[in-house]
Each structure stands twice: as structure tokens, then as C-alpha cells.
């Protein structure tokens, strides 16, 4: 990208540096001294930009790319036009990501909005809150009684850290975030509008309407969790809602009360997880998928996007569909029913006897 308006180019890295950093091998005829200062897609990258090629859909963009260097997989090497500087990587995405982090360290975590560090005189902070040194609390943020905030953390404008909440070190609490009844670990990133710790959804029929089931649990968010914009995580009813270490959650995800999500999970946008469900470590859940309450999803399971998980999913399984089932079975059923329907007429229904 020729104009990275919001993330300025730094001193850059040579192609050789990038190879060393990522373990990628220098392509034939590629000058290791060439300087790379930016990143770009194949069709936009200029001579100082690193790009990558992984999807055959974009072969024509590779053919005409002006990138300073392109990371390609060995299997796609033949597709690289002569004279295009390149690196050969075992995992193109991993190598490109490593280079990107080195070139743009400022993009690793959201920055404070306002340039003044420290505590804004226009933030509202209860005197009983315990704020470590080197915390930034921006204008119009609120920190309630007995809250604790660790050093290196930024609380953005309009965010609310409720009574008794703990926020660890080097966290980013985005604009308009609301935290209540929650404990956060270190290096947690909450994007704008995340709401954590409000009442779970529980009612019972009463004589004059619906009566509330009190929700006295907490939300525990472990280290290195990142949660996308406008996602909502309710506190537990009588146990805790837990988001495990290193788990990454996209925008507009809804997580109900008492849910336990394991470590290093990936949960894509608009997923909904109903109450009291348990999700193992390393689970991946595609976008818009809905997961029933009180089910268990085993470690390492992968659930396709837009699925509906009605019951337990075994560890390591790949499931999808409505309702979700093993991917192989799902594909076979979809193919079969589609074929059947294409024939467009009812099958014979005479007796087998």
C-alpha cells in the first residue's frame, strides 16, 4: 500500500532480514538487500512493500504485481513471474504475519485516542480505585469504587470499569466498553463497545409475569484474550463465565451466562453461545454459528460457519450444518438432497413388500 496513512512506515527490514525473521528462503534472483518498509496486497503493493500469494484466485494479480517482495509457498513457485523478488515459506500466512508485526509494531494493540498519557482530569475515578503507575485513563472514562487497573493499561474515552472490577496490565479497554462483575487478566484487548458482566438472561414464570433469576456470578477473562467490537458476555448465574487464555473473539459475538470457553479458541463474528455450554481448548467456531446451552465441545473441535450445534461435539471433530454433524456426513447429505431435489419430481413410492 503506497500510503499507509494511519500506520507510518519505519526504518524497514531488508528482504534478507525478513527471510531470517520468518524462516522463509530467498527466491532465485532475489536481492537480499532490498529494503521493505510496508505491506500491500498483490495488486496495490509498490517496490517497498511486502506481499504474499496463497489463493490461486488471485493469479492474475501475481502476474502483474509490482511488489518489492512476495512470499509464496513452494507449491506456487512456478506461478511467480520471472524477475519478481520473492521469499519461499512453508506457511505463507505465518511468515507474512511475522514480517508485518516486525514492520508495524504500533499496530499490535489499539493506541490511546488522545496524546496525553496518564489520567485525564476529565475522567471520573472513584478515590477507592487502585490504579497502578503508568496507566492511561482518557477523558470521560469512569472507574468505579474498588476497581483495580494494572500498569500499562489504557482505558479509552467513554469506557466504564465497574465497581470492584480488576483489569490486568497492558490491557486495552476500548471506547464505550462497559465492564461490571468482571476480572480481566493481562494484555486483554477489548474493542469498542464490548459489554462484559451484565446480567445473564434468566427468568421463571411468576404469579404476575416473569420473575428474575438473580445472576451473582462473575466474568473471568484470562490473559491475552482479544474481544471484538460490540460483543457481549454475560456474567454467570451462580458460577462464572470464563474466557480462556489467548482466545480471540470477533465482533458481535454473544456469550451467555456460565459459558466456559477454553484457551486459544477462535470465535468468528456474530456467533451466539447459549448459557452453561463448555468449550474446550483450541476450538474454532465459524461466523454466525449458534451453539445450544449445556453442551460440551471438545478440545480442538472445528465448527463451520453458520452452523447450529445442538449437542456435544467430540474433541478434534470437524462439524457443520443445521443441525451440525461431522463435516463429511454434512457434505454428503447436502449433495444427496440437492441432487435429489434437482431431479425435481417425487421418487416412486410403491410398496417394498
Amino acid at each position: 500500500m503506497s500510503d499507509a496513512s494511519f500506520f507510518k512506515r519505519g526504518a524497514g527490514l531488508t528482504v534478507g532480514d525478513i527471510g531470517a525473521l520468518t524462516g522463509a528462503e530467498l527466491g532465485a534472483g532475489t536481492d537480499p538487500a532490498r529494503l521493505i518498509t510496508g505491506l500491500g496486497p498483490l495488486d496495490r503493493a509498490g517496490p517497498a512493500d511486502l506481499s504474499f500469494f496463497d489463493n490461486p484466485r488471485y493469479l492474475d494479480q501475481l502476474a502483474s504485481s509490482r511488489a518489492g517482495c512476495v512470499i509464496v509457498a513452494a507449491k506456487h513457485l512456478a506461478a511467480a513471474p520471472a524477475g519478481l523478488p520473492h521469499l519461499v515459506a512453508g506457511n505463507v500466512h505465518v511468515a507474512f504475519a511475522a514480517a508485518g508485526r516486525a514492520l508495524f509494531p504500533a499496530a499490535l494493540t489499539p493506541a490511546a485516542i488522545l496524546p496525553a498519557a496518564g489520567i485525564s482530569p476529565r475522567a471520573e475515578i472513584d478515590p477507592s480505585a487502585a490504579i497502578e503507575p503508568d496507566v492511561t485513563i482518557e477523558a470521560f472514562a469512569v472507574v468505579g469504587p474498588h476497581a483495580r487497573i494494572g500498569s500499562g493499561t489504557v482505558v479509552s474515552p467513554g469506557a466504564v470499569v465497574g465497581t470492584g472490577c480488576t483489569v490486568g496490565r497492558n490491557c486495552r479497554i476500548g471506547p464505550q466498553v462497559s465492564l461490571s462483575n468482571a476480572f480481566l487478566g493481562n494484555r486483554v484487548v477489548l474493542h469498542p463497545g464490548v459489554k462484559i458482566g451484565q446480567d445473564g438472561f434468566g427468568y421463571v414464570p411468576g404469579p404476575e409475569g416473569l420473575d428474575k433469576v438473580v445472576q451473582i456470578g462473575r466474568v473471568i477473562v484470562q490473559d491475552d484474550v482479544e474481544i471484538g467490537a460490540n460483543s457481549t458476555i454475560d456474567r454467570g448465574a451462580v458460577r462464572d463465565t470464563v474466557i480462556g487464555e489467548g482466545t480471540k473473539i470477533d465482533n458481535q459475538v454473544q456469550i451467555g451466562h456460565n459459558v466456559a470457553v477454553g484457551r486459544h479458541c477462535v470465535i468468528v463474528a456474530q456467533v451466539g453461545i447459549s448459557g452453561s455450554t463448555t468449550i474446550g481448548d483450541g476450538v474454532m467456531i465459524g461466523g454466525q454459528t449458534g451453539i445450544n446451552g449445556h453442551v460440551e465441545i471438545g478440545d480442538g473441535a472445528q465448527i463451520a460457519a453458520v452452523s447450529v450445534v445442538a449437542g456435544d461435539v467430540p474433541a478434534g471433530a470437524r462439524w457443520g450444518g443445521i443441525p451440525a454433524k461431522p463435516v463429511r456426513q454434512w457434505f454428503r447429505e447436502m449433495r444427496f438432497l440437492s441432487e435429489l431435489a434437482k431431479k425435481g419430481r417425487s421418487p416412486r413410492h410403491d410398496s417394498d413388500e
Copy 2:
């Protein structure tokens, strides 16, 4: 739960008190004088905690529970291990919820964030707004011209009560809520990030693009409604959007313009209701379900989660599926198609003639 960090234990109730309060009967060998001060799930509850057992999935937890008292149904009585204090209730959830409300009255409604009651000098309140006595308006909240706010109501940090809006008595307007063109009854609870009263979504094709259909209706939210975090309710086009008395709405629900939701409905997370649809009293809608515009759902209907309601649903009906149909038919069709697909080969297609 041994450490209810955010909701402190009070004086507590004896098991006998709880029986009297909930109508549950004292179990064999259970001491009515035992003191209960907290709530907990079977696997975490300690000797001063009340728990409940209702889901056979958790039988092993019942067997090893250290709870001070467990509420069980008569049909599960045999599962309770000898020596475990227990109460026997007709409806376990209703009894447990009643005890919970008595033990933790502070959890019935969200509390103000900051300890100071009254109107924060850091709130922005138009002089023409009519604020009754005993209202709390926290820092960085905004109350627009001619708005009216009833006594006992809390307006949280960052919330906006727009021009001319009415908020009744004993309401909770959560952090970062936006209200415009709306009238709220009494005891309404809006969780963080709820947006009520913005323009409905209406456009017509025009000579240079899409032209707006003005949205001049209102949103009427009746008494005792509770609305979950980040839910959105648009104002009507030329009529009102109405949420009926006692209805409970979960997080991230979307309600379009002109929708009328009846009384004492339950609408689970991520449901979307399209414009001009009418929903009767006592309707339950499962999570992620989508409801078409201009349809009518009769009183007491129940719609399964992740369904798509394309047309009218009769009163009292139980529907589900995509598109939604009576639950019995839906299950039968799913079973049949799944069986058919499992056979994995096309049925015979010769002529019946």
C-alpha cells in the same frame, strides 16, 4: 459459590425459611435451622450455599455435592445421596429463583456505578428537562431538552436520554444507552449499549440513489421490560414500535420499525424481528431466530431457536425450522430427510404410470 465477590452475603435464611418462602417441602433428615447465605452450582456450593438439581446430565455432581441444601424435584428424589440436606419443590427453578431473590435483593436490578447518588455535576442536563426527586444521573450522562425522568431511576455513565423522551420511575438506564423518540414505563431495565428510537430502515428508489422514508413514529416501552446489552429497537415509521409490559429481551436483539411485541414475552439473544410484525402476549422466541416483516405471531406461541418465521404463527403453536413449521412436522421432516440422505444414494425414479 464460596466467594461471591460482587454480591455480598447477607444475614441469610434458614432452610426452613426457604421452604416457607418457596413452598418447597423439607426433605427427610434435613435440618430446618441450617443457615443459607449464598447460592452455588452443585459442584461448587459450600455448606452455606443453596443449590438445585434438575438436569440428569449433572447426576455425578449431585452425588458429590457439599451444598448446604439442594432443591430437587420429587421425581429426582431417589438420586439425592443420603445425608444431603434438601428441599423438594414442584418447580425447582421457580423455587431456587425465589430463594435467590430473597438472598440477594441487590442483584435484582443493576446498581449505579458511582457511589454518589443524585445528579453528577459532570452530567449534562438540559434545563428544560423534568427530573423528579431521587433520580441518579451519573457522570457523562446526557439528558436532552424536555426529557422527563421519574424518581428512583438511575441514568448510567455515557447514557443519552434524547429530546422529549420519558423515562418512568425506578428504571435503570445502563452505560452507553441511547434513547431517542421514546417513552419508557416504570421499572424498565436497559442494559449497556441498548439503542432505542433511532430511524427505522426505510428507503425508496430515487433518481440519484436511495431516498429516505421519514420515520416519525416513536418507541413505547411498557412497564417492567428488560432489554439486553447492545440490542437495538428502531422507532416506527408512521406508527409506533411497542414493547409490551413485562417482556424480557436478551442481548443483541434487533427489532425493526412498527413492530408490536406483546406482554410477558421472552426473546432470546440475536433474534431479529423485521418491520411491522405483531407478536402476541406470552410468546417465546429462541436465540438467533429471524422473523419476517408484516407477520402475526399469536399469543403464547413458542418459536424454536435459529428458526426462520416466514408467515403467521397461530396462538399457542410451537414452531421451528427453516422455514418454521409446527415442531412435530419439523422434527418428522428432519428425521426423514436425514434418514434418506444417510442411505446415500438416489431413490429409484421410474414412472408410476
Copy 3:
């Protein structure tokens, strides 16, 4: 509507004026001098209100309507009761919308919350921001360093315009909006809680968990775009996320990184569009639909609500279903499978050989 509480009636228009303005023809026996000052649905409109009839579902409301004038299509003319003043329009909705805009110009864009124009002393504005004359920035809004805001724009309470962002002229930035890494054109309307420009969702497996893929692109929102409450639009990874001129987006829509949406599209509530997808001009996408990443949807395509788009959709096509396919095929398949399932027994499965 007899009491348009939030949008006051003005001097009004005569029925003749409305006919001239909209191209609708005066109905038989209708007095062109009758004064219209409001809008209402058939069942609520009074003698000074304009209404419309287009949906045979509401025939009984037409029969008993007290409206001052009803816009009807020629094909429904026979349904209008004798004596009901009416206008006959080629497109009822277009005519009604044009009249509505003329009667309630204040409803065309959201108003500022507080009556004072200009920059509130309680807004936080970095001195390096460039604010044109005639900008309103309300209490508790934040404008970061080097941001630029065009004349006629309103920034509402609690909104955050991040470092270096550009907001064009006559925009409405609603309450609790967060903007970062974004350039907005003119006349852009962002409803409450919209979040634009936060990190796209990109991770790669690393030695100790998931490593971030830096997101250094921007969000470009062109002129006349309107975006609904609590929608989220992520910035690009190494290219930009773009929302084309005149496109209208409903509430709770999620748009991933690198997505390019064309001009004059309509995207209904709770839609999710995965990363790097390209959507042409004039595309319509029904509510709750999910669109896969890296697909292309051609100009003028229409996607039904609650569909799942797995691959490319040709220009001008009408698709729907899970997965989406041409509407005609989808309907045929649904009908066939439903018929098949209704028969409720397995078809014959003997050999064809």
C-alpha cells in the same frame, strides 16, 4: 398519527401540492385544496394525515380509514371506499416517501441532542484537529489529533473521532459511535453505537498461541452512506474496507476487513459479510444473511434474507437459501423436499439395474 410527538406538524401541503410533488393523480371526487400536515397508517390516520394502501392484507383498514388522503395504486383503486380522498400513484411507496420528506424535513437526518450549536466546552478536542466552521460537537464527544471535521456535521455525545480520521460535511455521528482509521465522505449518517475502523480479525498459529496479523488498512465510507445502530465495520488488513456511495446499512450488520461494498446497496439488519468479499453496485442483501469471505457478488444481485452465500453470485441474479442458489431453484428444491418429507416414509430403494 394524531400525535406526532417528536416530529411537529408544519404548515402542511394541500392534496393538490402532494399530487404535483409526487406525480400522483388526483382521485375522483377528491378535493385538491384539502390540507395535509401529517402522516399515518390507515387505521390511525386522521383527517389531516396522508396514508397509503399497498398490501391487500390491510384491506379492512382501508375500508374504515379516516385518513385525509390515501395514496393507492391504480390496480387497487376499486378497493378504495367511496368518499375516501385519494391520489393514484404508479409507485405508492415512492410517492408516499416523497410527500413524507416534504412534510417532515426535520426527520431526514438525526438532530443534535442538545440545543446549543457549536463546540461544547465539555467536548474533548485535540488542538491539532481541524474543525470547519458550523460544526456541532456535543458534550463528552472526543476528537483526536489531526482529525478533520467538515462544516454542517454534528458529533453526538459520547462519540469518538479517532486520530487522523476525516469526517466530511453535513454528517451525523451518533451517540457512542467510535471511529478510527477511517475517512468519511459527506452526508454520512452513523446511528448510535456504530464502530468503524477497529482491527480486522486476523491471527495465525504461533509457538505460544495465536499471533496477530497486523491490520494497517483503513475504512473508506463514501458520500451519502447511512449505517444503522451498533453495526461494526473493521478496517482492512493491507488494503481498505470500502462502503460505496449512497449505500444504506441497517442495524447490527458486521462487515469484515478488506470488504468492498459498492454504491447504492441495501444491507438489512444482522447481515455478516466476511473478509475480502467484493459486493457490486445496487446489491440488496436481506436480513441475517451470511456471506463467505473472498467471494464476489455482481452488480444488482439480490440475496434473500437468512441466506448463506458460499460462492460468487452473478450480476443481476436473485439468490437465496442455505447455501444460496438461484431463487427459482431454491424454491423448487424446498417445495420438493417438503413434499417428499410430508409423505413421511422412505422412498423405494431397489436397484435400477
